[in-house]
Amino acid sequence: MSAYTTTAPIAEAATTGLWYPRRLDELHEQIAPGALVASPTGLVLASVRALPSVAGHPFARFGLAHRPASQDELSASPATATPFAAGLLVLHCQSMRRLLDLAITHLGARTSGGSDLLAKQLVQSCLADVAITLAEQTAMAEHVDAYDEEGGPAARWRSHRRLLAAGRVLAKLFGASGFLADGPGGELYAAEAVGNVYLHPGTEFLHG
């Protein structure tokens, strides 16, 4: 049984619910071995295992912690920021891909009116939309021009926003179990919060 199905014991969900923060730490390690990557606004976000969490901060419920970047982390930033940002989008896609599979299992195991929820066309349509977004995002990553130096941050932010919107659709398919902090909704929240810190390109891009 998947960790995130409604009928799964909560303790089981809690042990696997920190998938995203763990992968975030691995990304830090891959881009800046032995260090953490600073965001453009001078923050660092990693798992609660990598960073002491700010006491009582809501991020800790999603396995995340943050602090201001150190001087060394800020100095390394010009070299690390772009590959880290690209890696975050890949991570977001991986998370969604895996939750999409879990959603299919979850919905296939629930019934209403004599058929499983996977057989409902409204549900199928939502799953298809999420899948299309993931396919587009894969193509986007191959489309090198999209993330060139100048327009890169804005393009990555737009990608993040599309993934975020698709993630909201996906989380809803889990019903209230998609709103558990240690379930799919919690994992996608972590991806949203990390994107807000690392991928937001600044308000000049948004204000037009």
Binding site: T7, S112, G113, K172, N196, T203
Partner: protein
């Protein structure tokens, strides 16, 4: 509260409404009562049980008083006319929006009849009502409304919790409920269960949480933590026939009928709270970025516009309920739209406030999570969308075309 967007909402009548002389003072009164709600909201998000430190907030007492039948009210300084106005369905959505603007989590964490009270109103006999309301009026009493199950949420009509006769003329209750607000902290609540197959085999049972076999625990949710969503285990809980709500009524006017009665009314209250969140998010951005350039201002203006339109529809549906006209399709439509708008407005606020806005603006971070709860409560967006379709086909959702326009269309 100067930096959290409150001031810009300062008692101004909400756009999109035509409140009369009875409702304008209610709206104004509710706005004044919301003082202190956001501080309490922060504390409740941190620790949902912290609500017990905030029971003195006038908003909590006002909410309880509005939801009690007049004979059980203790006005506690609230003007009688305002309490009466707040008790109507239209009054409920006006208070819901104002308090949602302040903090919906505090409202949901608070003691009082809430949804279980609506079930009692709809179904209970005189003795059941008396016992229920005397208990609530005696002091802070938390209640719950247990419908959803681990295997049956949207398909609640197929619920499986069993009410089985025992040897002594009573019953035992066996099953599990999931995602039920406040259950792990409540003293009493209503549990929906099955006594026989089919929709009319559903019963509503009034339970004391100290009954043997009742066990509930809190679940960790992404947001709206004040709702204290819980899992309930019912391991052979003894039930006396007198605990079955409206047991003298015909089956078609008992359990399921009561659940639907509650949900149709509750959804309007949820729509109002979600609108309150959306408005609060838009006001917060304006407060913190008074000089937003063109495109950003335009996006914010659009949120305002959509809230104003939705407010009109919510008020209209609520006024219909006060006239005993319950259009489930229209109610579902406004609940689904309000939930979407709450999410969209909080996401827009996070964008417009710039990088790391979710770190720099703790209030926004919280409301950004809270807004997402409204999708699930009392029916998902998908289920309400299907209901709107049914209403459309039945000719019960949109107003009919005028005869002239209908002919024109046919000829085109």
């Amino acid at each position: 509260m100067a930096d959290d967007g409150w001031a810009s909402m300062a008692g101004r009548p909400p756009a999109g409404t035509d409140l009369d002389d009875r409702l304008r003072p209610l709206d104004r009164y509710c706005w004044e009562l919301t003082d202190g709600l956001r501080e309490a909201g922060r504390a409740v998000d941190q620790n949902p049980d912290a609500i017990t430190d905030h029971l003195g907030l006038p908003v909590i007492d006002f909410e309880t008083q509005c939801t009690l039948p007049p004979q059980y009210r203790t006005p506690n300084g609230h003007p009688a006319g305002i309490l009466a106005a707040g008790a109507s369905q239209l009054g409920r959505v006006i208070t819901g929006e104002r308090f949602g603007y302040g903090d919906p989590g505090v409202l949901l964490a608070a003691p009082g009849p809430t949804l279980s009270g609506l079930a009692v109103q709809a179904l209970a006999d005189a003795e059941q009502r008396r016992r229920y309301y005397e208990r609530i009026a005696a002091g802070p009493t938390w209640t719950f409304f247990g419908l959803t199950e681990p295997r049956k949420g949207s398909a609640a009509i197929e619920l499986e919790t069993a009410l089985t006769p025992d040897a002594d003329g009573g019953f035992v209750l066996t099953g599990e409920k999931r995602y039920v607000g406040t259950a792990a902290r409540a003293q009493i609540g209503v549990v929906f269960c099955r006594r026989a197959p089919g929709p009319w085999g559903i019963e509503a049972v009034l339970l004391d949480t100290s009954s043997p076999g009742f066990e509930a625990e809190l679940l960790p949710m992404v947001g709206l933590r004040g709702a204290r969503i819980s899992r309930i285990r019912l391991a052979g809980v003894p039930v006396e026939p007198a605990q079955i709500l409206g047991r003298q009524r015909p089956p078609s006017r008992r359990g399921l009928y009561g659940a639907l009665h509650v949900l149709h009314r509750g959804r309007l209250g949820l729509a109002a709270m979600a609108m309150g969140i959306a408005q609060a998010a838009a006001d917060y951005v304006r407060q913190n970025r008074p000089n937003l350039p063109g495109q950003a201002r335009w996006r914010l203006d659009e949120v305002d516009e959509r809230i104003a339109v939705l407010r009109r529809l919510v008020h209209r549906a609520a006024a219909d309920v006060d006239r005993a006209v319950v259009n489930v399709h229209r109610i579902g439509a406004v609940k689904l739209r309000a939930a979407e708008l709450g999410e969209e407005a909080t996401m827009l606020a996070a964008d417009l406030l710039g990088p790391a806005s979710l770190v720099e603006h703790p209030w926004l971070e919280k409301v950004y999570r809270d807004a997402r709860a409204f999708e699930f409560m009392e029916g998902t967006g998908g289920i309400h969308r299907l209901s709107v379709f049914q209403g459309l086909i039945k000719g019960d959702f949109l107003a009919p075309l005028s005869p002239a326009a209908a002919t024109e269309n046919a000829g085109a």
